[in-house]
């Protein structure tokens, strides 16, 4: 199955939250939805979950419009909001049982599903606790369990790792991998890019409501790397002050940063030109211990193409 977003726009009172973005996500893939605060990630997700209406554009599930027929999405899309809505006087089990009923599951299928999800999301020990008394991490698990009740093909997760401790993050990561292996398509927004890099196969990067890049992470990294300056890291035996003075004079070098014997700079040249630069430095009497391009990942791509603007 494929969930396609075409030219999506959302205008609030004085703010264009989402401006003509297009991308698609497929089942069996984890897509990282990346952007600074206020970029329009939550709005986009809420539109995909059919909670919010868009001003313009198309959202299609296997070619059928979810904006025109939002009821189509109900079985196929699960939504995990950034925070669990307030549900006073309800235990974890009651909450999940309520949503299982709401999805029309009958006994004994309902009891079976709820028990399996409690086990899968590690909620068995706290099933009789009131939701309002749970920690952020536990609430996040409850939210994921709820989103999985209808066994959806796509799961939209809005900042699921925010506020989680390191252990809970690792457990969440493992959970996502299992769901992906089960063939579910996951769109996950997060600020923790290093974590997204590890689990995501694709990415959608937006800023100020505009789409900057989308596609497979490897392709996006390659595209950004080939069209932009690359970062070279050098470690010398002596102080880097002299080395930096030498580098400033090089035409393809910019943004030099020095930290002890380490030096990093942006280089706008080919591999051959980089090799020439190394030989120039060695001939200049510098004792180079390490010289190489810094590995580009989602984090560096993100930093490269976004400006950190919010709206």
């Amino acid at each position: 199955m494929i969930l396609t977003v075409k030219h999506l726009r959302k205008q609030f009172e004085n703010c264009l939250a989402v401006d003509d973005i297009s991308f698609s996500i497929e089942t069996g893939e984890i897509t990282g939805f990346v952007g600074p605060n206020g970029a329009g990630k939550t709005t986009t997700m809420r539109i995909l979950a059919t909670i919010e209406q868009c001003t313009d554009g198309l959202v299609e599930l296997d070619g059928r419009s979810l904006l025109e027929y939002p009821e189509l999405a109900r079985k196929h899309i699960g939504y995990v909001p950034d925070s669990l809505p307030s549900n006073s006087d309800m235990t974890v089990h009651e909450y999940l049982d309520f949503f299982a009923r709401a999805y029309g599951l009958k006994t004994p299928k309902r009891q079976e599903t709820v028990s399996q999800l409690e086990e899968f999301t590690n909620l068995v020990g706290i099933r009789e606790k009131y939701i309002d008394s749970l920690s952020k991490g536990m609430k996040q698990r409850v939210s994921i369990a709820r989103a999985l009740i209808s066994d959806p093909d796509f799961i939209l997760m809005d900042e699921p790792a925010a506020g989680l401790d390191p252990r809970a993050r690792i457990e969440l990561r493992e959970l996502l991998k299992i769901l992906c292996e089960q063939g579910k398509g996951i769109l996950i927004s997060s600020h923790i890019l290093s974590e997204l890099s590890e689990i995501c196969t694709s990415t959608v990067i937006i800023e100020r409501g505009e789409l900057l890049k989308s596609g497979k992470i490897s392709e996006v990294v390659k595209e950004v790397t080939s069209s932009n300056k690359r970062v070279i890291h050098i470690r010398a035996l002596e102080s880097s002050e002299e080395l930096s003075k030498k580098l400033i004079l090089e035409p393809l070098v910019s943004k030099i940063s020095v930290l002890g014997n380490d030096i990093e700079f942006e280089y706008e040249g080919s591999d051959e030109q980089a090799a020439d630069l190394l030989s120039v430095l060695i001939k200049g009497g510098f004792h180079i211990v390490a010289f190489g391009f810094k590995q580009q990942n989602l984090e560096s791509v993100f930093m490269n193409i976004t400006k950190g603007d919010v709206q």
């Binding site: 205008q11 609030f12 009172e13 004085n14 979950a49 059919t50 909670i51 209406q53 001003t55 419009s65 904006l67 025109e68 027929y69 939002p70 009821e71 999405a73 109900r74 079985k75 899309i77 939504y79 909001p81 809505p85 307030s86 549900n87 006073s88 006087d89 309800m90 009651e94 309520f98 949503f99 009923r101 709401a102 999805y103 029309g104 009958k106 006994t107 004994p108 309902r110 709820r146 209808s150």
Partner: protein
């Protein structure tokens, strides 16, 4: 014998929201405080009643005691419980607690059913609790059992009507009154004020009914049956209208509702025409109240048709015209309202002229009330749409209902006070207040004096329509050009 299977089946049959709401209700403070207060009042009434018995040495105050008990019961079940449920529902919509529920596979009517049943079950519990105490009044003497049972039955029906009314108004709540909050408060206050007015009206109606009727005449029973049917119809309309609020915005959600409402309206109008004047007044008042609410609700419908709605517009001109009033859209809704209003008035006039119904001396006043209220309500609806869209720059049309309802009530109350302060028939300030006042006709007078409020309503309505004329023409063009574009 193993009953587990039947218990499971019953458990599955229960509405998910009913189960959840009842669980939460019995754990909440409101339910127990109300229940204890209820028992306390009952004990006080019985204490004073029994004290009277001791003083005069006989049992003869059963009717008074029963009246007090019923008043307490109806105060809690008909006023406090529905208002609290409405407040809770409006708050849930306002703070988005339920938005995850709305994207489940549960149908909108199941959601409303669950909400309503929760209120109905709580009210039923209160009624069950009062039965032993009411039985006690039978031994005190002076109680007409048949009348007592009827009052209990009708007060229960009206309490449930109150619950669905509150749910209907709560469903119109949004988290963005002008896209910046405060809708929930306005919604709750307005809904509570209207509910209080309707509650007082029902109490006075019930009291006058108890005084006048002996329940020995078959025509009285027919009247009661007709009133019961009217209540059921109004209930059905409010239930359907509440469910529609949860239907997808892009769907032609009003179509089925308007078709059914037209059928019910037609049957109701024809049936009541043959009974008596009182029933006609009750029926036409219900139609008027429904039309006023629909006038506000029309403004929550789209001004621009979605592709889904456009795809449902028929190709032939005849079908286009005949289905136009039933489609979802501001202009469509308005057309349907006008259509129903004109036909209702025609039935009243024809019935009155042929002396089949009513006292024709009241005809002019009834017509003036109906027309002025109808025009004012539609004017407030169109004004709300214009102000929110062009001045407050609000994008969510759902908030138009609250805005129109609030402006209608507030203008009515404030203008009435100012009108009376400045002696509206002589002072220019009072005259202006009269003109903008939806309730001007009640303030101005009754017989033979309805023309000025009517002219004022026409002027206001004209201005409101003119302000929205661009979008009205665009929607009409879009509807009738659909086939041509294809």
């Amino acid at each position: 014998m193993n009953y587990n299977h039947y218990i499971e089946q019953f458990d599955d049959f229960l509405n998910a929201i009913l189960v959840k709401e009842l669980r939460q209700t019995v754990r909440g403070k409101f339910f127990w405080s109300i229940f204890l207060l209820f028992l306390l009042f009952i004990c006080l009434v019985l204490f004073f009643s029994l004290n009277e018995v001791n003083r005069y040495g006989g049992f003869h105050n059963g009717e008074t005691t029963a009246s007090f008990l019923l008043a307490i019961l109806y105060f809690i079940s008909g006023l406090l419980v529905p208002i609290n449920l409405g407040k809770k529902t409006a708050a849930e919509i306002g703070d988005a607690t339920n938005e995850l529920l709305y994207i489940t596979t549960m149908t909108p009517s199941s959601i409303i059913k669950g909400k309503f049943l929760c209120g109905a079950v709580i009210i039923l519990m209160l009624y069950s609790a009062i039965v032993p105490f009411l039985s006690l009044t039978l031994f005190m003497g002076g109680v007409d059992v048949r009348l007592l049972l009827l009052v209990v039955f009708f007060s229960y029906i009206f309490s449930n009507l109150g619950v669905i009314f509150q749910i209907f108004v709560a469903m119109s709540n949004t988290s963005d009154f002008n896209d910046s909050g405060s809708a929930g408060v306005v919604n709750t206050v307005v809904a509570s004020v209207i509910h209080l007015v309707l509650w007082i009206t029902s109490v006075s109606f019930g009291a006058s009914f108890m005084n006048r009727y002996s329940m020995r005449d078959s025509s009285e029973i027919v009247t009661l049956v007709v009133i019961f049917v009217i209540v059921c119809v109004v209930f059905g309309l409010l239930f359907a209208a509440s469910s529609i609020k949860l239907e997808p915005e892009t769907s032609n959600k009003m179509y089925t509702f308007r078709v059914w409402a037209s059928i019910i309206w037609m049957i109701g109008t024809l049936a009541t025409s043959f009974v008596n004047f009182e029933v006609v007044v009750v029926w036409s008042s219900c139609v008027l109240i429904a039309l006023i609410l629909f006038s506000f609700n029309n403004q929550t419908e789209p001004e621009v048709y979605s592709n889904r709605i456009l795809s449902e517009i028929p190709d032939s001109l005849f079908n286009k015209i005949s289905k136009f009033p039933f489609f979802t859209g501001v202009v469509n809704g308005f057309t349907w309202n006008v259509f129903v209003a004109i036909l209702t008035l025609m039935v009243v006039i024809v019935g009155d002229i042929t002396h089949k119904i009513g006292y024709h001396s009241d005809r002019e006043f009834i017509l003036c009330v109906f027309i002025t209220q109808f025009l004012h309500a539609n004017a407030h609806g169109f004004f709300a749409s214009f102000i929110r869209k062009n001045i407050l720059k609000a994008s969510n049309r759902k908030g138009n209902f609250n805005f129109a309802l609030a402006s209608y009530i507030i203008t009515g109350v404030v203008a009435t006070i100012v009108y009376n302060m400045f002696d509206g028939r002589r002072n220019p300030i009072g005259i202006v207040c009269g003109i903008i006042n939806p309730f001007f006709i009640f303030t101005y007078g009754t017989r033979g004096e309805g023309l000025l409020p009517l002219i004022a309503a026409v002027i206001l309505f004209g201005i409101a329509v003119l302000l929205n004329i661009k979008s009205i023409i665009e929607q009409l063009t879009s509807y009738f050009n659909k086939g041509a574009e294809d």
